[in-house]
């Protein structure tokens, strides 16, 4: 058996390097770090192309886009976590500035969501031998129409190895029967606008009465940046804008950091 690394033994170890040698090796490791970081910075032309493809009204736009994504060495995880939310945010801004009509924005967001679905297809956390990694119920409350954000969150959790049960616009009764038959490690509620908060408070009250002890309830979504002290005013246990922190808080983030590095 030969050990490939033995060839490199002639090279100096970090401890024995000094002066310029050490400096140079530091420069190299800095370069390595910088190349890795560049991958997480957004490429503006790609964001623009994504918005254009979303409102183009044809499927071809996305095919071309995905080819470009592969060429630019951008992972689908980065596409889902960074590019799709950014494109959605820009479209919202474009509506505020009347550069885009609101119909265009809703069609665009719908298309981004289908793109999300397409690239998220392979992210399965549900497997025969992966039963130990946590189960989360993700609720999009009734009347809440913003579903792209929850899709992004769901894809992230699935990549973290968490099994996600997504329920959109369920009534109180439907949620009650769901909680009677299943148990979750956490319940997350995605809220986009402040207007929904009174109903969310009502929903949380209901959830607490359906099952005791109730798993930790976390409120998240764009509303996080609009109101303060969301947890106490809705009756949730926590309010977070970051899935990683949320999972860590409810103790489901054992391998999350590792998975994130892989992404």
């Amino acid at each position: 058996m030969q050990d490939f690394q033995s060839q490199g033994e002639g090279r100096a170890s970090p401890q024995s390097l000094s002066g310029v040698n050490y400096f140079a090796s530091q420069v190299v490791s800095l370069l390595v770090d910088r190349t890795a970081r560049d991958a997480r910075e957004l490429r503006e032309p790609l964001v623009q192309a994504m918005i254009a493809a979303s409102v183009s009204g044809s499927d071809q736009g996305f095919e071309v886009l995905l080819a470009e994504v592969r060429r630019s060495r951008i992972s689908f995880a980065a596409l889902a976590d960074l590019y799709i939310p950014e494109a959605a945010r820009r479209m919202g801004e474009d509506w505020l500035a009347d550069r885009m009509s609101w119909l265009q924005v809703s069609i665009g967001a719908g298309r981004l969501q289908s793109l999300m679905r397409e690239i998220g297809n392979a992210w399965f956390a549900d497997r025969a031998n992966d039963a130990g990694c946590g189960v989360v119920l993700l609720i999009v409350p009734e009347k809440e129409q913003h579903t792209l954000g929850p899709m992004v969150a769901m894809a992230q959790m699935r990549r973290f190895g968490v099994s996600v049960c997504l329920r959109i616009g369920l009534s109180g009764d439907e949620l009650r029967s769901l909680l009677e038959t299943r148990s979750f490690d956490g319940i997350m509620i995605s809220v986009a606008t402040q207007a929904r908060l009174p109903e969310v408070a009502q929903l949380i009250k209901g959830l607490r009465s359906f099952q005791t002890p109730t798993p930790p309830i976390i409120i998240g979504g764009p509303v996080i940046s609009m109101a303060e002290d969301l947890a106490s005013c809705t009756g949730a246990d926590y309010a977070f804008g970051d899935i990683g922190i949320a999972l860590e808080t409810i103790g489901l983030k054992s391998d999350a950091l590792y998975t994130l590095r892989r992404a």
């Binding site: 090279r11 530091q26 490791s29 992972s75 505020l96 809703s106 031998n129 129409q145």
Partner: protein, 470 residues
């Protein structure tokens, strides 16, 4: 004829209009029309008399615009107002959402015009509610789709887990084409192939001495018989005697044959224990396992390797060169295979694996040359090294010692000299590494560095890396 509407009034070509008629024209030019004073009060509301669905909006008169629209819309309104009041601006368009006690929320697209010297604003609005209703239906349809999709995903998972976990060997055959539509690992083992190889294979070919037509016919007949006895068959690949119990059913217009396969050779099973365990290790092991043919083309790969490379299916990697998945491509592969062939075994070859979307994962590869057969090949075990790499990196960057060497350098010589010297050291490090990695294969090393062979020699000589007789 001048068709530019902005020029209508030029040369008094726009006739004088009776003020009452003008107000009617304005009212019917849009679906709703507001006049807003400079201080933000609604001074007039005109609803199109042909478009009565707004009900009475007279109570808007005298109210602040902020009170009749959503907060977000008011922000937009303010911004457009600023644009309109900029010198040279004539009209701007804006989409706003109104709120009113009668109708909960409704969208209007306005054009805003500055009229008169008192900076009053005329807003001509188009009702967007019909479009809003369509959009709502779209959103609802999308939500239903999402819900269906999630349900289907749940059912899929159940089906997959059931197929994987059950000890019964089960396969599904499409009656139209006679091909295997799905099968579980237990069935694959019985037939003597991998699941991926057998998916889509013609079922008749998998058993000895059977033609497709008669094969399916005999199974269908058995399935249709009330008291069915199993069909006895010999699997072509594994040469095992098997009993097949068929059941016919229809799904979404396709006729499928569900076959339960039973083996009747308990003795053989004991013999196959190691083989079975090995197979399970291959399929369920945490490290990536890959089998390559003599040219480095992938012939088999396990789930962990697929995970490592983000590949969805083994079919998407089989038949491709292993070089496609290595960060240094064919250079990596050549180094790996040449060394393995020479020494039969190789361990701890450190490189990076590319996933389907060009992300990189550091790995350590051990390789074995499988030579005891007419067609030799390679077996690779690929271990994800990103965890250990995190540890190594934190080791390297501890302490303030790192900065000290830089401080020593600065001031001791000019920046230009430091950079030049550093470049030289970096160059030497890279060349040395490339030579090591390629085991002194100059062609491969040059390719790795993107240098011509000539320039590599020049640099090797410069750094004293050439043997004396070269």
């Amino acid at each position: 004829m001048n068709t530019d509407t902005n020029q209508l009034h030029v040369g008094m070509s726009m006739p004088l209009i009776d003020p009452e008629l003008l107000s009617e024209i304005v009212a019917t030019a849009g679906d709703i029309c507001l006049v807003v004073s400079a201080d933000g009060h609604v001074t007039s509301v005109l609803a199109n008399p042909h478009h009565t669905s707004f009900g009475r909006l007279w109570h808007w008169v005298g109210r602040m615009v902020a009170d009749i629209m959503t907060g977000e819309s008011h922000e937009k309104f303010q911004r457009r107002l600023e644009e309109l009041q900029a010198p040279g601006a004539r009209s701007v368009s804006v989409e706003l959402n109104h709120v009113d006690e009668g109708i909960s929320e409704f969208p209007i697209r306005y054009t805003m015009h500055c009229i008169g010297p008192d900076r009053a604003i005329l807003m001509l609005g188009r009702d967007l509610r019909p479009i809003a209703e369509m959009q709502q239906q779209l959103v609802m349809a999308q939500m239903v789709l999402e819900r269906d999709y999630e349900n289907q995903r749940e059912m899929d998972t159940r089906y997959r887990v059931l197929m994987e976990a059950t000890r019964d060997a089960v396969l599904l055959v499409g009656m139209n084409n006679g091909r295997i539509a799905d099968l579980n690992a237990a069935a694959a083992t019985m037939l003597g192939g991998s699941r991926q190889e057998l998916l889509g294979a013609a079922i008749a070919q998998e058993f000895e001495g059977r033609r497709r037509g008669e094969f399916l016919e005999s199974l269908t007949n058995t399935a249709a018989a009330t008291a069915s006895s199993p069909v006895e068959l010999v699997a072509r690949r594994s040469q095992r005697k098997l009993r097949v119990v068929p059941k016919l059913f229809r799904t979404a217009g396709e006729r499928l044959l569900l076959c339960r396969i039973e083996g009747n050779d308990a003795a053989l099973r004991a013999q196959n224990d190691i083989a079975e365990n090995l197979e399970r290790l291959f399929h369920e092991g945490v490290d990536g396992f890959v089998l390559l043919d003599d040219d480095g083309v992938i012939t088999a790969a396990n789930e962990s390797f697929l995970k490592l490379t983000d590949s969805s299916h083994v079919t998407s990697v089989r038949g491709r060169s292993m070089a496609d998945f290595l960060a240094r491509g064919s250079v990596d592969l050549r180094v790996l295979l040449d060394n393995t062939r020479r020494a039969k075994q190789l361990r701890l070859y450190a490189t990076k694996v590319l996933n389907e979307f060009n992300g990189q994962v550091p790995v350590e590869i051990s390789a074995t040359y499988l030579n005891d057969r007419p067609k030799p090949g390679y077996g690779l075990v690929i271990r994800d090294a990103s965890r250990t790499e995190i540890l190594r990196r934190t080791d390297l960057t501890t302490g303030a010692d790192n900065m000290r060497s830089v401080i020593e350098l600065v001031g001791s010589s000019t920046l230009k000299d430091i950079v030049a010297e550093t470049t030289e050291v970096v160059e030497k490090m890279c060349i040395q590494t490339a030579v090591d990695l390629t085991r002194n294969n100059r062609v491969a090393a040059a390719e790795m560095l993107g240098l011509s062979r000539q320039s590599l020699y020049v640099k090797l000589r410069k750094f004293g890396l050439l043997a004396k007789d070269e």
